[in-house]
Symmetry: C2
């Protein structure tokens, strides 16, 4: 595997996994005042389209990264809508 | 331009621009309590690596999307560190 591919994979793992600590924090505290509703609404739509794009081009890393990110983003969005 | 490419471009515009409302909200309110420091620290590292990946593969959309996202993420991270 080339160094460039490894950099891309590490980048994908970091940006995807970064939403986990936010999801955990939001679930634990139920405090969502400082989180932007617009951000998570727009971001979730974007990640859903990335997932569709990955399915259309049959690219497993794009599908996997965005499927996981979508779960985290939707959890945070749901908490923002429920506990605003 | 194919429908698949358009879906990918719209996805990129949405996920990149989604961080703007969060940045604006954070700059205006200076309230960062509910925002996860770990998320923005990990996310910023990931986006920086995506930017490096884009530069290495010379892909203008990857470079542009991640350069803009990095600016928004670093603004939010800086506010989180300053007003925690």
């Amino acid at each position: 595997m080339s160094t460039i591919t490894i950099i891309g994979l590490v980048a994908a793992v970091l940006t995807t996994s970064s939403f986990l600590p936010q999801a955990i924090k939001t679930i634990r505290t139920k405090n969502t005042k400082d989180i932007s509703l617009a951000m998570y609404a727009i971001f979730s739509c974007g990640v859903l389209l990335w997932l569709a794009y990955g399915l259309l081009i049959k690219d497993v890393p794009v599908i996997a990264a965005n499927a996981i990110t979508l779960i985290f983003a939707l959890i945070i969005l749901a908490y923002k809508l429920k506990y605003k």
